[in-house]
Symmetry: C2
Subunit: 343 residues, 2 copies
């Protein structure tokens, strides 16, 4: 039976403090290119891997039960990716099918939890988009914005970490709906992207704003109807001061807080009352039953060129650890993708 060398990214030990590449190492095993006798699931060849902010939580030893489980030191990291089926014992997939979903950070993976794989039907778009725009981050933007915030034309939308995989899509979805859209990001380059490429009405570099409240009042003088929360901490506190009556906050992530010993305190929650604000935390995987509805909305927009999408692509599994930890210093510009193999 044909065997291959299978390069893998291993978590060496649990991360404490700020993550860096040294917590991961490369390893190579040998794998037969067939599912073993009696095995269930599918054998995948991984093509593209997705670097997503939530992954840091899995690299730590979690003391309290969470919606994600910690990775196991000594084994390959896993996450979202795009892959090709090489062998299948599942009635839902056959050899040659392209899929996106949860897979390993390695060249080949055996996946038993096939319910977390989605078959890719439309290949008119770059396959890597299924790690982002057409995958988990796209669904996250769609669910958080459309399903939880009930946006209306003309509303004032603010998005933090707006040039990231999710943020850039939320902003464009909001523009397509006729909203006034402002985003924050952490560099001039990202702010330029937001304004000149993604069509945001305004954008600002939060690192150059000593007073976030004043910045929000400058860019959103009428206040905020919808806040798509990706960062937490001080930004959330400033946003609470600027919410409009009956505002909505989709709590998608709090990336500024993930690597702190103790999360920052948020002081302005009383404004939830006076402004009757609804704040809703969510996990995209609760909403995957809406994936087909999402594709029907989004594919025509992509094909008509109504949506711009920026990826930050690195080549090879060797580059994956640096790409992942780069998320937490805001190094990436756009959706961070790792190419394992182009076919």
């Amino acid at each position: 039976m044909a065997q291959v060398r299978n390069k893998q990214v291993i978590l060496k030990e649990y991360v404490s403090g700020f993550p860096d590449e040294s917590y991961m190492s490369l390893n190579t095993t040998i794998l037969p290119l067939k599912l073993p006798e009696g095995s269930s699931g599918v054998l995948l060849k991984n093509l593209y891997l997705s670097c997503d902010p939530y992954m840091i939580n899995r690299m730590r030893k979690l003391n309290t039960p969470s919606y994600v489980e910690s990775f196991e030191p000594g084994t390959p990291i896993n996450g979202y990716g795009v892959a090709k089926i090489l062998d299948s014992r599942s009635p839902n997939f056959k050899e040659g099918d392209l899929v996106w979903g949860r897979t390993g950070w390695e060249e080949y993976s055996i996946i038993k939890a096939t319910e977390s794989l989605f078959k890719i039907h439309d290949t008119d778009v770059p396959l890597s988009y299924y790690t982002g725009l057409l995958g988990m981050p796209g669904m996250t933007a769609y669910v958080g914005f459309h399903e939880l915030c009930s946006p209306k034309q003309g509303e004032h939308v603010f998005i933090s970490a707006a040039s990231g995989a999710v943020g850039q899509l939320v902003g464009q979805f909001a523009k397509l709906l006729g909203c006034h859209v402002v985003g924050s990001a952490g560099s001039k380059e990202k702010v330029d992207l937001l304004k000149n490429k993604f069509g945001f009405d305004e954008a600002f570099n939060y690192k150059e704003e000593p007073d976030l409240d004043a910045a929000l009042k400058r860019y959103l003088p009428e206040g905020i109807d919808i806040y798509f929360e990706n960062v937490g901490g001080k930004m959330l506190d400033a946003v609470l001061l600027n919410m409009r009556v009956h505002g909505r906050i989709a709590v998608c992530g709090m990336i500024s807080q993930y690597n702190l010993e103790k999360p920052e305190g948020v002081h302005n929650l009383m404004h939830l009352i006076s402004k009757r604000v609804r704040m809703q935390g969510f996990i995209v995987s609760d909403h995957y039953h809406l994936y087909t509805k999402f594709l029907e909305l989004i594919l025509p927009h992509i094909k008509q060129g109504n949506i711009v999408y920026v990826e930050d692509v690195v080549e090879g599994l060797e580059s994956a650890p640096a790409a992942l930890v780069g998320l937490y210093s805001g190094r990436n510009v756009g959706k961070q993708v790792v190419v394992v193999s182009r076919e």
Copy 2:
């Protein structure tokens, strides 16, 4: 024309820091017992006045726009009360009608905003109940619990400031629905009331719990599906650690924060994501169109003795300032009412 002396409680100056009685004074004016020529509205004889936690916010100079306006120093305080119509130029009210709604802290009031008055049809219950159980606090409990939290039988409900006007009702509504109900309060006497009179499953004195997280884990080992938030600060932080997946938080008030120079920081908002929690601030007056629906639910329960209601009644307008500031030290046991006149 008959004239009367009209005793009033005046706000002398805006409160800064912790409120005390010295910010208010008694004053007497002379009032004709008829509406002046050309005046609109109604002339009321006030019977019962309601002391409510939100009132402190109106006693301060508010710098940012809020859902309430600051009181005007030198004029009578106003709030919710029960009154009798002495003269009316409104087609909706006639002499002799009993009403509840917004009125002045004085013996007689001329009210032009008659849309904030509700006619009292059912007088089989004590009239003072329309300052509480059957008035604004009752509606607050109903809207926050039933309308915003979508409670289900068997769910785990936690209520802070649970012996107050709103909390005691939320707990009883939850018990009527078959929920498991736990409350916190600030004295042994209040805890006894919750357990022995209001039928809470468990209750604890937060002042005797150095570790609120541990207390919640002890009394709600399965976690919290619904939190009815009246206090904010440290309690909210502890609750966030104990929310169950798809939990709901109705943010009704944050009384622990109203008199602080700077509100405490809340550190555990990341749990909104992992537990997919919905947190909703609200103002009862947005929901008064539901008042008839509320009465249809609640009146039969009152008449069948399914609901216990505790008032802390003081006599005379002279007692009103002390009764109001007593709310912020938790002096009252049950709904704080001031009797101006019994008929």
